[in-house]
């Protein structure tokens, strides 16, 4: 499988990364190099093999249903580029 320029642009948009026209070509070439490298995985017989979901067997820890957090809106928005009244502000979203 190899990616063309259209695919590079589609993937970049999906990943929300702006790419210039000059970047598309080299980026595509790099992606193709990596994809060619991983192509060898196709040789492995994986029939009947479970994909790994957790690297070591353990039971998932759970929390009690208790309110232990919140009440710190100041800290939540402290690093935000733009805020008002503890809301995060973003360019207007048209629905």
């Amino acid at each position: 499988m190899s990616v063309d320029e259209k695919t590079v642009r589609r993937i970049a948009h999906l990943a929300r990364i702006a790419v210039t026209d000059e970047e598309v070509g080299p980026l595509g070439a790099e992606l193709n190099t990596i994809l060619a490298f991983v192509e060898q995985l196709g040789m492995v017989d994986v029939s009947g093999v479970e994909p790994m979901t957790s690297v070591l067997p353990m039971a998932m820890k759970k929390r009690e249903d208790a309110v232990t957090d919140g009440g710190r809106a100041d800290a939540v928005v402290a690093n935000a580029p733009e805020t008002e009244d503890n809301y995060f502000l973003v360019p207007k979203v048209v629905e």
Partner: protein, 490 residues
Amino acid sequence: MNAPVDPKKLIKGGLHDWEVVIGMEIHAQVTSKAKLFSGASTAFGGEPNDHVSLVDAAMPGMLPVINQECVAQAVRTGLGLKAKINLRSVFDRKNYFYPDLPQGYQISQYKDPIVGEGEVLVDMLDGTSFTVGIERLHLEQDAGKSLHDQDPTRSFVDLNRSGVALMEIVSRPDLRSSEEAKAYVTKLRTILRYLGTCDGDMEKGSLRADVNVSVRRPGEPLGTRCEIKNVNSIRFIGQAIETEARRQIAILEDGGKIDQETRLFDPGKGETRSMRSKEEAHDYRYFPDPDLLPLEFDQAFVDSLAEGLPELPDAKKARFVKDFGLSPYDAGVLVAERASADYYEAVAKGRDGKAAANWVINELFGRLNKEGLGIEETPVSADQLGTIVDLIGEGVISGKIAKDLFEIVWAEGGDPRAVVEARGMKQVTDTGAIEAAVDDIIAKNPDKVAQAKEKPTLLGWFVGQTMKATGGKANPAAVNALLKAKLGIE
């Protein structure tokens, strides 16, 4: 699969009759104190970003830890839907960018949900019932809220809801009319409220529906569907379906084609419209969330939750029919809310179940509806209403007086027995007093007495006059017997 099509459910188009096919995805907010993966509060409202932990705000390095009560609530719900509980399920990430989705992905369950196939029995007003298949139920995070009308160029983002646990309950496309769809949501809401797993408060967004609508000519394969997102009242669900079905029919009868898309119902304009912004380049890139291990529990955990389940509406209804001799309709009305059913049972205990049902449904519910009150707010307790039913049964008061008594207790409270005593509301069974009144009426109305011999229905008029003369307190049976004898009516 192809059940015969009920012609009553078909929609008449300009050219043909059409069958509407509906499936629903209900998002039900899990009743819990804290969020699905953080310790922040789920309380409704709050100052902006106040019910937000660093996890909910997706600060770098923050990790989700699952709330075990949310897991238990999902299992309880699954049990209530008679569904398969999956002892192993997996949380996946659904990746997309949106300002109220701080992580850039929603943690959801895609391939392996916690609950598999189940069913909901839905009763219609006409007494018929049908089954809706449940495809799955999965746990997922709610998103935050964007406010778009605070500023001309900015949207305001509040993450208070971000990370609140939702159960997405997906039905099969088993619904064939807006009435059925509304009845299904109503019933599902009832079950959730019985279970205590979702408060069902649609005004606060605790229950929202994505409605999938398609139309077809009867007997034909399924048509292309449109998904109407986030409909937040049962009435709007009905309207949205009607509107959307007619839109699709109009297109098809014009020779057009339905585009599969996401639409929004605008109740103000009474139309659905395309949400193109959400349509663009959907590729959610689901994969198992590597921050979370698979969710596993044993059958013993499920069994212990099953033991703690309350009696559910279907079982309760069947019991009311069997034990109290109620009609299925009345039993259905009573079990619609757990609190109503409990109230009824308290009234019916040790009394005539039918009489109790009449009083609860006709008098109490009627009055509560008129005042816009819920059963929890009733000024007449089950004890008080039970005493009123007793007083009728004992012949102390007549049914008519009982209605006055109910009004007094509603407005002023008090022990109904004492009220009857204090206000002299007991019915008169003393035949002497009744006889005097009867004699007086006969004496004053010789013409009517003469007619009564030919026209026995005039008896009713005499009864009415007698009751009036006795202030309604005369025992109706005694009045009847006396009048018949004196008027010579067989």
